[in-house]
């Protein structure tokens, strides 16, 4: 019994339509977002008179677009970036995880001093925590049930264990 594959295919069938609709919405949404990133990059480079380079790949690994559009300009900036030492590259560098967690840390810091921020933040984290605790309880029960009433292949196991043990 491979519960994993059978259940995941079941899930796919049940939500077939909504996935298609979700994808449609997602596509236009993503296109719009891709556009705004380029626009924002342009604005930043003009206002601050500096160099910006954005490289964007989609989930399949295809290059979506770059800013600036000109490949030579991009390569120029990248060459300069690559000439840096690893230590230099890490200065002021972030990735997804660091970015979001830093944001949380800053929100927390503001929540400690500002009452409105505190309310908002506490509510947000509280909801997060509450949802998790509820699910955790559900999972506990699930695991307990699974131990008490094991699935199919355990019937032999039960027979062996129910023999007199003393």
């Amino acid at each position: 019994m491979d519960s994993l594959t059978s259940s995941s295919s079941m899930t796919k069938k049940n939500t077939k339509l909504s996935i298609r609709n979700k994808t449609r919405f997602k596509n236009t949404n993503l296109l719009l977002r891709e556009k705004t990133i380029l626009k924002k990059a342009l604005e930043l480079s003009v206002l601050c008179d500096n160099e910006i380079c954005v490289i964007h790949y989609d989930r399949e690994g295809n290059l979506v677009n770059t800013y600036p559009e000109d490949q030579r300009q991009v390569k120029d900036i990248l060459e300069r970036y690559n000439s840096l030492s690893d230590g230099e590259k890490l200065k002021k560098n972030t990735n997804l995880s660091q970015f979001f967690n830093k944001k949380l840390v800053n929100e927390k810091r503001r929540a400690l001093t500002d009452a409105d921020e505190h309310t908002k933040f506490t509510q947000k984290v509280g909801e997060f925590k509450g949802s998790m605790e509820d699910k955790l309880q559900m999972l506990k029960d699930m695991v307990r049930d699974l131990c008490l009433f094991p699935r199919s292949s355990s019937s032999d196991h039960n027979r062996a264990r129910s023999e007199p043990l003393s």
Binding site: I37, A41, Y57, F149
Partner: protein
């Protein structure tokens, strides 16, 4: 960063002359740009790299950078003309990353634990998921606490900021290490009961080198299974011995009642193969302190 009072104006698209205004605008817009990119990465599984030179001429940094999965992976993909190495849509690290989880929720993707698929996973996977959730819960508690927190990149978690030492490790904090004997019991009970197939077990267990929380689940499962041979009476005793050995590391009078050897249990009761009623165990306490170094150590010591 959000101003109140409707003071938004459309920015004039020309170079800003005033140095301090330029600097402020730069950091705000840079953050905004990174934010948009991060959202795209989460929503569309995109891989993005952003490089920005500082606005002022005298700065000790060459580039402000953002990259997912990393700046280098995207940059080298571009320069070599190849595709970047794909990022897995869900991974243990991502599930245990509170920043990413909350961001996903804010972007409308919901919490990963609300996914229906979780219900049909094997008990081992469910318990691993619970482990991850415990880690998240700990971080959430820190966020709700009265002290400032910081994100420790090395540990990949939030830590409370102390005046003396900013980067205190997690174990130094006043955590509730509620590793009760019940924890050990229920884990080994459920584990031994639910993992018949070693191969399946091996296939399902994840391997993450160097992470203190994750490794225990592989190791203790394998440990408990190693002596198992179904239909063999002595095996069950081994199981109990392991339970007793592990729980001896903790002093807890309440739990002694649960350490009955299997012989005292109801012999023919198919629902209670382990000699005590699992339903009697206080699962709330059991699962309360699931994840911590102490837990891992106690298992390894058996």
């Amino acid at each position: 960063m959000v101003k109140r009072g409707g003071t938004k104006r459309k920015a004039d698209m020309r170079k800003i002359i005033d140095k301090s205004s330029k600097a402020v605008t730069f950091s705000k817009r840079r953050d905004g740009l990174f934010s948009k990119a991060a959202q795209l990465c989460v929503l569309g599984d995109a891989q993005i790299a952003i490089l920005a030179t500082p606005p002022s001429s005298n700065s000790n940094v060459c580039f402000f950078s953002f990259g997912h999965s990393s700046v280098d992976s995207v940059v080298s993909a571009y320069l070599s003309g190849q595709r970047p190495v794909p990022v897995p849509e869900e991974s243990k690290e991502m599930r245990e990353d509170i920043g990413i989880c909350m961001a996903r929720k804010e972007l409308g993707l919901g919490y990963w634990w609300d996914d229906d698929k979780l219900a049909s996973k094997s008990p081992q996977e469910i318990m691993q998921a619970m482990e991850s959730m415990k880690i998240l819960l700990r971080d959430a508690e820190r966020l709700l606490g009265d002290e400032a927190v910081d994100f420790d990149q090395r540990k990949g978690s939030l830590v409370v900021v102390h005046e003396k030492n900013e980067n205190m490790s997690k174990s130094d904090n006043a955590e509730q290490p509620l590793i009760t004997t019940e924890d050990d019991q229920i884990m080994s009970v459920c584990d031994s009961f639910c993992n018949y197939n070693k191969d399946k077990n091996a296939a399902l267990s994840t391997t993450h080198a160097g992470e203190n929380f994750e490794e225990w689940s592989d190791m203790d499962f394998e440990q408990l299974l190693s002596g198992f041979d179904f239909g063999n009476k002595t095996v069950e005793e081994d199981d109990d011995h392991q339970i007793v050995a592990v729980s001896e590391n903790h002093c807890s009078n309440n739990n002694n009642a649960l350490l009955l050897p299997a012989a005292e249990g109801e012999p023919n009761d198919e629902q209670e193969p382990f000699g005590f009623d699992i339903a009697d165990l206080d699962l709330d306490t059991i699962f309360e302190g699931l994840s911590s170094d102490e837990f891992a150590h106690s298992f390894l010591m058996s």
